[in-house]
Symmetry: C2
Subunit: 191 residues, 2 copies
DNA sequence: ACCTGAACACCGTTCAAGT
DNA sequence: ACCTGAACACCGTTCAAGT
């Protein structure tokens, strides 16, 4: 458990406001212009100096992680919800893939997450791992019912699905094409 | 048929030499530092002014396409060779995926090709289409023997396999992980 | 016809000076 | 403690001047 006594001193009010404004602008900028967009622009739009952006987020990845935290929460919660609702575990897997695609197509940044999956030093690693765990839960439920192929490891599947979502988001692929790819993966892992 | 009379006038000798030197340097640079590496560096290493690079290759994609032409030739020829050698069409599909991975892991640039697949105006579109055709040939041979799942379209498969290769190349993924993903796709399209 | 290299605009990053 | 904005290095791109 954390508390104020652990050294998590509250930020000065203006710093907190700046931080929030940067995040708000960054989320919109990443979604509209992609995760490679100019950080200077973000700082300008948030009406702070470039140094202020760097003080709060020392790297593009750090900013990316903070900006994505919200939808990563949502998508992980979706995983649990899908399992609870669906009666067919195979359909649950399909819905899980599709939900992941939904989020990535809007918010982008999945390519950075895939890159971070193998790199514990990345600021995105924690978010990455949360998605990986959600994926593991959905898949293992299907596995327990015997509907998964033998020898299917959840992590390559997570990488693959995230990778497809990343590709679709970065390239601006029509949704249907991305779905077709996910369907191939679905057939490849289930029986 | 093309001939000198069609307006394909020969280049001046120094221009031809410069062009070749730029391509030689570019191939090494893309392979070592990735397809996003500095074009200024390439010009410097090839000992030409930046303007000369732009005269020969008006965009990064144009340079990329010229630099990749060689291995695209090779990989397409591989497709035919694999079909001729292999007795099992399923094994041929597997080998085809694997061969594509080999080339991309060395030369990079597959992400740009995936992006170009849906964009006929891209300088990479022609190379892209050649790979797509090779893929179509290998897959349809397997399809003729009834070893392909019903409703499998070759193009989404091409995009998917190229996409995985691109991901593996860009992220520096261990070969085994990429193979694991390709195996899932293989199971997804065959029976 | 082709090459050169200076020039420009833009971007990420740092840091001394301020409050 | 935090912010500002000037400064620096780097890169893509253009173009006037040369041969």
């Amino acid at each position: 458990m954390m508390s104020a006594a652990d050294g998590v001193r509250p930020m000065r009010a203006d710093a907190r406001r700046n931080r929030e404004r940067i995040l708000l602008v960054a989320r919109a900028a990443f979604a509209e212009r992609g995760v490679g967009c100019s950080l200077d622009d973000i700082a300008r739009q948030a009406r702070v100096g470039p140094g202020t952006l760097y003080r709060h987020f020392p790297s593009r990845e750090a900013l990316l992680d903070a900006a994505m935290a919200g939808w990563v929460d949502d998508v992980c919660a979706s995983g649990a919800a899908i399992l609870a609702e669906a009666d067919d575990p195979l359909e649950a897997v399909r819905r899980w893939f599709s939900r992941l695609l939904d989020h990535v197509l809007v918010h982008k940044g999945a390519s950075a997450m895939v890159a971070a999956m193998g790199d514990p030093s990345s600021p995105l690693y924690a978010s990455c791992s949360r998605i990986r765990e959600a994926n593991e839960t959905v898949l293992s439920t299907a596995g327990d019912t015997g509907r998964l192929r033998a020898g299917v490891e959840p992590d390559p599947v997570a990488r693959l699905v995230l990778g497809i979502c990343a590709l679709a988001g970065d390239v601006g692929m029509p949704r249907g094409e991305a779905e077709a790819m996910l369907e191939i993966v679905h057939r490849g892992v289930t029986r």
